[in-house]
Subunit: 227 residues, 6 copies
């Protein structure tokens, strides 16, 4: 259960080199490499297309309509982090805008993942500060009630620990537990290694039916071709 | 009701020349030309703006979380087809990505309409392979259970038969029964013929009230102007 | 309660100069300057990114599936107006397209805010005619039943009077009562005056915790730092 | 726009005798008698079936996650009132439970209409204190920020002034402006007067087609019977 | 695609005796007996719990906000029918109330399935006239535009032909093609035949793991028990 | 991240006596006693009103459209348990019906909390086997893919460990970490101790404004009474 009013300062971040490798694979490949787990809910959408990042999570638990803890979190950011924010209740207010983005970037943050709303999206887009959120809303917030920073939390249905690796792109967001990052990066690399070959064959008109040897299992499963 | 485990190979595609004419009219005009029917639900959205296509439907019935039948469907694609996929249960998984798009394109497909999720949208956008879907999700799928190919199915609330014409653009997706394509293309052309003239008048400040002779029916309906 | 079949011709528009000042501040700042009220629901989204406008409201009450009153409203538009349309029932049909946009623009309208659907979004985007709507749908409408023009109405949860100022951008839409526009513009200007300074400090790495003197109130509220 | 921090004490309540007549007609009939306007959005549902009430509105504007103003409103309740609560942002927290219901009832309130969440619904059901809400949630609220009481507000899409008549039943909620209550009650009574006769005829197998003389207009509209 | 303005009078209803057998099996069993197809979307909910019916479909295509065709459909009802209504656009208005229910019942209808809204639910509940709908709304409708009766249509995602069997209960609604009713009834009966025995075993504490012999396939699939 | 294919047999259940005390307090009080945390999302609704239970969690991670692991979980149930099921993807299929309920009850389960769909709700209601779910659907499931039992999981937005206490009633569902159950039960008891006194005062017409001494803080916050 969530403990409120806590800022955990010393967190163990996933291995930087391994985390950095993840961005290039993208969310779909990383999620496959983990065994099809770790995705945040698909309602988490980027505010502009094309961003693709990986980083280590600084987690923030917010109270509805209150962005105080994002300021507290700013101090905990280290270069290469991605801030991951959840809220104790369903809320679409605009917790984050261009001033906080300026501050987060100055601290080295690579982006924000927030299970709530965001605003100033035009400026954030011009700044190329990527945000994945469940809503865009101009609704302002207050600074009155404590949440927590760097506690484990549930963001858009996924459990995130401070220091876990986060990968985000146009397909969504995935979390990789800190201890698994190296292994997952290797699995993702292996997965991608023969993708170029597959793509070339498919582009030449080879069917997946043949390339993946699916014809026999399909017949076995009972598939019938009719005219 | 859906028959499962069937691939219908010989389908009667709508007249190619007539189908090709439809793309230029766009979805709104084609739907009007049909008498305001045939639209898929408005939650079907393009993964990038600006695509506008028409083609003949290859239909695919999928099982939730399982994209096996998309591989089976690939073999049935002919140049000028658009694949139309529905799922036996509500599902937002990412059934389709850049490898399948490469294969579909190699077979001549012009796009995909899927009442489920899609992934690799950044690459699909770079490839300019247009997809209309109800969700974007990195969630992978398995290849384990049979659906069917080229059976009549309900996609996003609309009944689609294999061979029907599909038109899709930023406004959504419309299906035109194969037998009606020529007639609908003519009606759409007639509808557009005087649009340029209307547009010019409206741009000059002529009111629709006058151009469409609405003033009298409005008074008849009881409209009152007050100060 | 809504009176149907009424067109109010003489409306008192908010002060033009003050309204014109609002666009540059954007929705988030204007909403803050008003005390965090006046926003339309966040489901109101622009059809393309980047538009940022302010204008005076011409209000239109529509019947579901019927866009007749938009034609009636066109005649009431004056340069600098933004049309604000609501519907007597929840409806996502495409009430507005490129022909009406041509007419509205010829009358001087700067945009449309509609708690329903819109179509021809590709052409509207090319025209740079901005629309904020709750849906995009090719579904056509009829012209059969009366609504009203320039009566007070509820649009996406906000009360709008004809002549009120409307500000809309990528963050959403806000309504400013006509009588408050000057005061709100001043408050927004004051709010922005020291934003540049704040942004510079944050960009230099100064923390909001220090800039806003939050450390003491946070301790008072019980915040604890742990290792 | 909403003014915050205000409690209006002297409100003009709709005529009690006329308001009392409305409950028996039910929401559908009252809404028809008004010309098909005045309904709150259909997501407003009763917490238990069968309640049917009418009363005069005490309005409450709440802040998200904060039920302070419900306590302020309690003092303004007079016998025969129904409390109508809206929130400045979308929120499903449980703002109201059995203790507040006990207090409201002691003041003479007949029910609550709240565009947010409610809790203790089992006890409220046992108490037969009717509530129409958009959510049921155990989530508690704080008492920290001011809203207002008895200002005009938008609740679930409808504009409500303090003193307006509210009618609520299993079909939803309708608001009748205070000045129109007598007239609406008369119109509703007239509407119901011949319903018994109609019902008897329909029960005897007379068709609406004949009773309402629809056959000719249907043919005129182009209806065709085929075998 | 939908043809508008048509009433098909001579429809072939599924075998009455077989249809009558279906009610007792319930929706879940019938849907399983068909191979897990034929369900309407789960947003279709009964207006009161406990009803369980089967009947033959009279189909009605409605226009949004217009219930004219329900009156037209009444004349086509025969004893044992269930009316199945869809709408050409997403709409939650209250198309059906107690007067129409009185008329439908007088004609022998056993219930209504409507992919839109319904009202007078308190009276309908007292009458025990079962309705499955996607919304409850007091919003009234007009009688102005033609739809069709007894054409094939898509209702809540399922294709329904006039004369098909409809089964509805607290779990939802399923459609059985007229030609399959006898076979499906037999399959459902076979399915239920050994349910009593299974239930008794499970009630005695026998595990499904053993009764269904799942232990081996689970191990094969890789299941590991850990302490 | 979720490990798949695991059944943890030895779990540490929260103290039985303390867990048993929680049911009587109800979800709202328990959630308050924990500091307003621990609630599952409010879309989790009971299939029938009036059930109020507490028990220890047996957790189940399901694959979409596949209820195999519910059979595996049955063997791990001990008297006093409540099964808590989540799914690796958003899914509304009917994973659970009366046969599994018979089996679960035979093992001593007190109920089911499932972030997916359930069926046979009429029989479950007659059996008085309480289920909290996000959907009701007749859609059947297969038994083909492994999930896990008794791993920590996220259910409807809340983190649940096997052995945690679960409390569920008409207001929703709350999870209490096993280690905190005694303390929470004490806090809930303290909270309720003076509720009777408060209720009596409120029933006598004492205002919360006076009972909670809110008048001064309201004035301090700026509340103004106007006529």
């Amino acid at each position: 259960m969530y403990e409120l009013g806590i800022v955990k300062r010393n967190i163990i971040r996933a291995d930087r080199a391994a985390v950095d490798r993840l961005a290039a694979f993208g969310v779909a490949t990383v999620h496959e490499a983990m065994g099809r787990v770790g995705l945040l809910a698909p309602y988490m959408r980027p505010i502009y297309p094309g961003a693709q990042v990986s980083g280590t999570a600084v987690t923030v638990l917010l109270q509805p309509g209150d962005n105080w803890m994002l300021h507290v979190a700013a101090e905990q950011i280290q270069p290469g982090d991605i801030v991951v924010a959840a809220c104790t209740a369903d809320n679409t207010d605009g917790f984050f805008g261009d001033l906080l983005a300026t501050s987060f970037r100055a601290r080295g943050a690579l982006g924000l993942v927030i299970d709530a709303g965001v605003r100033d999206v035009k400026v954030l887009t011009e700044m190329r500060f990527p945000v994945w959120s469940k809503a865009i809303s101009a609704k302002g917030t207050v600074k009155a009630t404590l949440g927590s920073v760097n506690i484990p939390l549930v963001c858009a249905g996924a459990l995130v620990h401070a220091g876990d690796a986060i990968v985000a792109d146009d397909d969504g967001v995935v979390v990789v537990p800190a201890a698994m990052v190296g292994k997952v990066a290797d699995a993702a690399a292996a997965r991608e290694a023969n993708e170029g070959d597959k793509r070339a064959k498919l582009a030449d008109g080879v069917l997946g039916l043949d390339m993946y040897k699916m014809r026999e299992p399909l017949v076995k499963a009972g598939l019938r071709y009719v005219d």
